[in-house]
């Protein structure tokens, strides 16, 4: 099976003043369709830099990056923008929604920059469908400041999904959320993954990584460990456990 992501000896060097920072030093790995990967590592391990390269926000200094068979490491700014628009859905730690813009309009945004002509009515319909998928159809008219963190992240996921990308990238998606909401978000990811979407996620929380299928651990710009998740957590049952525990607490009080 062809890999969605094929990284061949990826290096990234930043030139900041006189010092060269070697953030990624030779990463080679394949990610197949339908995988659910967590990239882990301490801060400064190069995981975010690698994520930016995978997300086509940045180009490697050296090495080849094949995304869906196309070499993304040599493309220009506009071509990269098109790839981000068509093939990748990006989810950020800080949600990065446009403020003072309704959830629905935020979700419609990627279609605006797409190349296929979509009539306004169809754009709306697709945005509503994407919001429905993350369980937020009833909040379509709300602005980000009227939504909770978990809801904002769901809007961001809907936005990432609206152009039907083959790859979903998430950079610390649960970093700003409490543990229960984090599990809810992981539940959304697990559901999407079951539908066949490839997900790559950066996190430094071990328990969050256990909801994925494969863990890559980075240190000093290299992958030091690449293991499948053996005792995988299921978000739905974890949430049920959590609720039971809370009820128990309430009963004893």
């Amino acid at each position: 099976m062809n890999a969605v992501i094929k990284l061949e000896d990826i290096h990234k060097v930043y030139h900041t003043g006189d010092v060269d920072v070697h953030a990624v030093r030779g990463v080679t790995t394949d990610i197949a369709p339908g995988e659910f990967v967590a990239i882990m590592g301490a801060s400064g391990s190069g995981k975010s830099t690698l994520m930016n390269i995978i997300g086509c926000l940045d180009r490697p200094s050296k090495g080849n990056y094949l995304l869906d068979g196309t070499d993304a490491s040599k493309l220009g700014r506009d071509a990269l923008a098109d790839i981000r628009n068509q093939k990748i859905g990006f989810i950020f730690q800080g949600f990065n929604l446009l403020s003072r813009t309704s959830a629905l309009e935020n979700v419609e945004l990627p279609m605006l920059y797409g190349h296929r002509y979509l009539p306004g009515r169809e754009q709306r319909a697709r945005a509503v469908k994407a919001l429905d998928l993350v369980g937020l159809a009833d909040r379509a008219g709300h602005h980000p400041n009227q939504l909770s963190g978990g809801q904002q992240q769901r809007v961001a996921i809907a936005r990432a999904l609206v152009n039907e990308p083959s790859l979903l990238l998430a950079d610390e998606p649960t970093g700003n959320l409490d543990s229960q909401t984090s599990i809810e978000i992981m539940g959304v990811f697990q559901k999407l993954n079951e539908q066949g979407i490839t997900i790559v996620m950066v996190t430094h929380e071990l328990d969050i990584a256990r909801y994925t299928k494969r863990n890559l651990i980075m240190r000093d710009g290299k992958i030091v460990s690449d293991v499948p998740v053996t005792r995988r957590l299921n978000a739905e049952s974890e949430l049920a456990n959590l609720r039971n525990a809370q009820q128990a607490v309430q009963l004893t009080v």
């Binding site: 926000l57 940045d58 981000r84 990065n96 990627p110 920059y113």
Partner: protein, 406 residues
Amino acid sequence: MMRILATVKIALRALRRNKLRTLLTMLGMIIGVGAVIAMVSIGNGAKAQIEAQIASMGQNVVLVFSGSFSRGGARSGWGGAGTLTIDDSEAIQREIPGVVAISPESRTRAQIAAGNQNWNTSIQGEATEYFDIRQWPIVQGAAFTPQDVRNANKVAVIGKTVADQLFPGEDPIGQIIRIKNVPFIIVGMLSSKGLSVQGQDQDDLIIIPFTSAMKRVQRVTTLGSIIVQAAKPSLLSPVQDQITELLRQRHHITPGKDDDFTVRNQQEIAEMATAQSKTMTALLLGVAVISLVVGGIGIMNIMLVSVTERTREIGIRMAIGARGRDILLQFLVEAITLGVLGGIIGIGVGILASKTVAAQKGWPALIPPEWILYAFLFSAAVGIFFGFYPARKASRLDPIDALRYE
């Protein structure tokens, strides 16, 4: 296309969000464009009025004044020296091609009386052609005839003001007026011309044959001035030059000596009259253009602030697939909208201002449509010119840096 429309929509929404800021940014354009429109239309109104008054002098007129500015010692003023003669006038008519009509003039002011009324007015001795040259119709009675001129008859044509002063509610035709105690019979009354460029009452005069004026009223043998009409506007300058040459010859003025007469053509007089208003208009236009540039810089300033403020938004848009040119277009449209909207409001303000001034001054408010177009295009150009740099800056941001921007 779809993409452009959507981008325009985004830009407009961003402007609507900061209404006060948008308005303040546009203020420079509003004032600048408003000033340009107001200045141009006020200037045009003034010019139109002056031109109408100049035209009332007659068509293609060259004026020859006796006496000269540049006589040493005491100066007598135009017409005072009495250097022109009837022979000069006849020579001009005879020898200069392109002269279609000529009227020798002898002017003075005098106290006049009729019945028990009296009035001080201007007495103009003219030829019959004068009424044609100045295109001044006679509304009652008739003009005096060439024969009246030859015989120095005591006949007069009076202006509306004189008629009103001396014969209120009466028919002036056939009445006798006494000019310096010489009785003249009124044969005609002129139509009203109203005020001149300088604000003088042009109807306050009596016109008599120039021969009568010289012989019976002023008792002089020389003319004060001569009005010459050329066949067409292009002949004004050649006729003027030929008159100068002819008169120098006739007056035996050797080369290097000053003329003892002055020749002016209508264009010069018109130019003199409009020069002042032109200078003023040019000055104010300069101020208006400066304020447009200042307005443009205001737009650039706000756009730069806006780009910095919205760095994160730009990062988000880029992360989800906006190309550099989408971002460029978005900010450029904002800048152009600021310019154009300011321009449109400015055009409205300018029209309002010029109408107000025109109403006060009694001018026609002449707003040339092409200037409205210029103002509109110029404000769009200001938007593009001053909006391009900030927009380009936005479009060249690195998506990662932009996303990290706090």
